[in-house]
Subunit: 358 residues, 4 copies
Amino acid sequence: MSLNSFGRLFRFTTWGESHGPALGAVVDGCPPGLPLSESDIQPWLDKRRPGTSRFTTQRQEPDTVRILSGVFGGRTTGTPISLMIENVDQRSKDYSEVALAYRPGHADYAYDAKYGFRDYRGGGRSSARETAARVAAGAVARAVIPEVSIRAYLVELGGNPIDPAAFDDGEIDRNPFFCPDAAAAARWEVIVDNARKAGSSVGAVVECVATGVPAGWGAPLYAKLDSELASALMSINAVKGIEIGDGFAAARLTGESNADPMRPGANGKPEFLANHAGGIAGGIATGQPVVVRVALKPTSSILTPVETIGRDGQAADIRTKGRHDPCVGIRAAPVVEAMVALVLADQKLLHRGQVGGA
Amino acid sequence: MSLNSFGRLFRFTTWGESHGPALGAVVDGCPPGLPLSESDIQPWLDKRRPGTSRFTTQRQEPDTVRILSGVFGGRTTGTPISLMIENVDQRSKDYSEVALAYRPGHADYAYDAKYGFRDYRGGGRSSARETAARVAAGAVARAVIPEVSIRAYLVELGGNPIDPAAFDDGEIDRNPFFCPDAAAAARWEVIVDNARKAGSSVGAVVECVATGVPAGWGAPLYAKLDSELASALMSINAVKGIEIGDGFAAARLTGESNADPMRPGANGKPEFLANHAGGIAGGIATGQPVVVRVALKPTSSILTPVETIGRDGQAADIRTKGRHDPCVGIRAAPVVEAMVALVLADQKLLHRGQVGGA
Amino acid sequence: MSLNSFGRLFRFTTWGESHGPALGAVVDGCPPGLPLSESDIQPWLDKRRPGTSRFTTQRQEPDTVRILSGVFGGRTTGTPISLMIENVDQRSKDYSEVALAYRPGHADYAYDAKYGFRDYRGGGRSSARETAARVAAGAVARAVIPEVSIRAYLVELGGNPIDPAAFDDGEIDRNPFFCPDAAAAARWEVIVDNARKAGSSVGAVVECVATGVPAGWGAPLYAKLDSELASALMSINAVKGIEIGDGFAAARLTGESNADPMRPGANGKPEFLANHAGGIAGGIATGQPVVVRVALKPTSSILTPVETIGRDGQAADIRTKGRHDPCVGIRAAPVVEAMVALVLADQKLLHRGQVGGA
Amino acid sequence: MSLNSFGRLFRFTTWGESHGPALGAVVDGCPPGLPLSESDIQPWLDKRRPGTSRFTTQRQEPDTVRILSGVFGGRTTGTPISLMIENVDQRSKDYSEVALAYRPGHADYAYDAKYGFRDYRGGGRSSARETAARVAAGAVARAVIPEVSIRAYLVELGGNPIDPAAFDDGEIDRNPFFCPDAAAAARWEVIVDNARKAGSSVGAVVECVATGVPAGWGAPLYAKLDSELASALMSINAVKGIEIGDGFAAARLTGESNADPMRPGANGKPEFLANHAGGIAGGIATGQPVVVRVALKPTSSILTPVETIGRDGQAADIRTKGRHDPCVGIRAAPVVEAMVALVLADQKLLHRGQVGGA
């Protein structure tokens, strides 16, 4: 029940501050015998790395992961897997102004209200750096669910959507935006460049599809697959909205339009003629692709002065001078994939635990 | 960690099937000494009751709650509080057709895939009847958080939105739709009547505001207040989307537009000049009103035949003849309030546990 | 993480006070498809019932259990199973004296210190009546682990031990003491009769053996099988000591004497030449019989006045006039079996969840 | 609910193998603002260190701890505290024989039965090295409960008990056995020397007293203070028995002899005239000293050949040549203190969470 842990059987706990010496994750409950090494994890971190393009924050972190326990002879032992990533590039001086005043939209004021003080350096624990630990843990989760493929991509940036008809899966890894629509990617380049130069920021919408999820995963009611996904995704910094399948659009359909008719398919499994449900019904996977969508608000560290108050309660202006991210949504795609993997790995073990089978 | 429980310190477990003899909840971790009796719970159930207007399902349930434990001398003892509601009006014969075929959009197929069989009567445990137990538990939660006011209402039905300028809080309880806009309520009456007669169904969007939440509640990262709300709300039957504050609209704003500037307020607390955040930053309450929104899909029990498959894997048509709900969103408002109350009660105790204080 | 719940995957929550209208348990996580009806549970409650002999408390409770959810067509559905037992014979007037003074050895003072007040009637929630709910839940657990046989019996009462050489399994159910040694049972009859007439009480030691536990159940470190058993058994009212295998006697052996040598056995499994370990090594079952032992202190409700203080802080004497139990250890045997069953059922699902297989 | 985590609000997760690069703990839920640095933790590790006398295992480990997160400006931030201890002295070659055969009394066979293989080096995760991580976590726990003093010492070794009348608290830290009786310490020196030379091993009994525990800590039923202590202590390697207060001796007393009479004391609190209960009644602390006792079996790595089977199922002899511990009980005292501290810290926060107050 740890407050910084997630999952029930396949459980991970993250630790580490943005400007501390390191950050990491302990992954517990991983089945034994799965092949695992640093080379299975590092590529996912590299996808996520800050400083890989001019469109993301300018901090240079190699994000090299080490496995400190839980693996022997190249395979998981079933005991806790400790992952560690050392922080290299920490510029505390960029954040000197924020020690004394609260950045609106950040958790500064809320943290102080809760704890009485905070580690103001670089966002402390609420910083997006913590997501590196999640991505590492997510790589371990993937080893548990080889039957599932998970793919996340941006469908909208700065209010500018892709053209679904132009969707090209291969395009996702060819541009810095995880965008499946080349034309949209070109438009977004302009949007983000302008935001960065203006010291402003924009939001984004990320969609993630998991295929190969067997019907049956997910427990009804409170460990519902959609509930767990919602919780996991909402915990990503800057997320303000979650949708499963049609999401808010479903609220505007009639029952007939929203139904996913079935007909007999291959191997005794049904073939679904639509997927408004997003692959989940009553909290349990149906075998359809699981489709989720998250809305990310624009970064709050902006260069325009914003009215705020200081720790002394007096009025103040605040302006972040240091490095900032003009669109956190860009690097959220690998994090969304990681969280989906973590939830699905946990659900697989829960299903197996209660019902049995492989 | 029970799969049918929710909450960490203030925890409730629900039980009961739609067509079983009863349903109920066990609420654990309630602080001792709080005044509590059936009369504190019953009104909330009455708000929720089916059969109270022609716009909701025609099943007649008195939903009378009994407190079987955890209260002595009119006050909570700190021990588990067992609540029970007996089912009275169960018409199993209305559901005879569904034993043999899967209703698209329902959890029928998914349940079978998971368990190998299911209690087909009336939706078994995925039925909205289970929400009666949640509403009862929510009433207990309110006793824990007297400093908070929670209010839910529909802002959209069948794709038809309210006019925010016409918002009248008093109107919410004067129409069958929990609608704060009298003109919209009149339009919705037509929409739902038409849907019911056509044997169709429509969706809705419910908004809920909690005022008086002290800054500081909520734990960063995985027990984030917004994560817990997302999980709790997504677990409500038919919910397909969740928003906090501006939600998906935030993804279309710039950083400057999305910021919530602060200025010094009364009693050393800040006064916020906007509330795009919806009262939560970094997973912790800021003291602003907490604003959430949920999207409910249209009911899947419709009278139009829908293509599906039977348990034998063969093609079939299905058409629910019995009672059905033309808009589950209508009765979701009290349930949304209950879930928000349950999460806030738990967060209050968690905060008090880790940090101390009243 | 509920404070009145136990178990991780196979989890139960109990509720109910000694003098409330009912008590019960919600069992969650039970695999679906297992045959279950009241007739599978009632016999275990009958074994435990107070008033079945003059050696136990004189309260007359039929302890009739009802299954309110989680079963359909005679089989578990995989959803929460709600069990309820109504209290019939409640004599509140017997406890009038205890409202004003604390009974030494009872939780009276501790409860007041924690909560500020308590339900003084009959021990409230700390009463042994709560164990009826546990025994009912334990019966459900047995359905999950048909491969395991569990047997508990007294090995000592009032300081008087059985003769291990005279151990006769059939004798256990032939006397009121669950005693496997007929001669000892006769001696105990005298001891308990004397205690009851004198208004005194005596303690006991209960041993429980579970055979058929497959090697591999149990998770190393904190969900260790012996840790979970210790926790479950210590939660039984009046338990003050726990042993696994040789227990405290192991502390007096040398390494060579305490070893359990192995030789090749049938079916590729080892044959153990001793069982000092009690069937558990490193927190994991070895396939040997699991042997545990618990020490129960004498009942604290005695008829001899004992020096105490009242709620007003002043000195007082207290003497319980009502019904009391001269040896709670007698009825603890079925409760010990139930707790062992509950732990093993949970461990089976946990093992299956992490490692897979049936 | 992680299987390698303990605690509910104040929760720690340990990781690391005996022969891996490092081991550590993540402590979550620590209240913010508590002073903490490596110098608060290192002394407790030094007490526990192997190689500090000829009576313990000959492995040389500096056990230097690093705090990697959760502390800022010398105070806890309320976020997870990651502690790491690097392994220095690992001699894998000493364990070559055990890769092919199972050491009786160790978890070797059980691990294989569960996982299909194991990290055989030095006991893998079941090794006593893991207790270093616990001791480090225990030091953090002490910061949460400054009002409590915790003291553990051996009361018996190799079947040879101390003389309670000769109890001298100052003696505990003056001999290598944490023994409060100088004469007994001299006798034990001979016993352990003989065992070590003979390649044999002996067991021990450790008692631990916690004073200053406020009445009220502990939750009735399943999070009972004695249940949690039992679970925590049984999870220590080699523990086979647990007692609270009089333990098994209570089973031999009458109700009158076992009662702890009360009379009015200072500050409105009762003065107890005895402490058979060991400070806990009904699962809640009474304010009396909390007294627990654990029995540790003799080490199983012995130099006398013991009959066993190999991984191939064939008969084999096994004899551990490397370093071994003639009495693990000696170094268990600091570990027992650490576990008691961890449980009490968690209970303090739980009590505060449910009931409020400082």
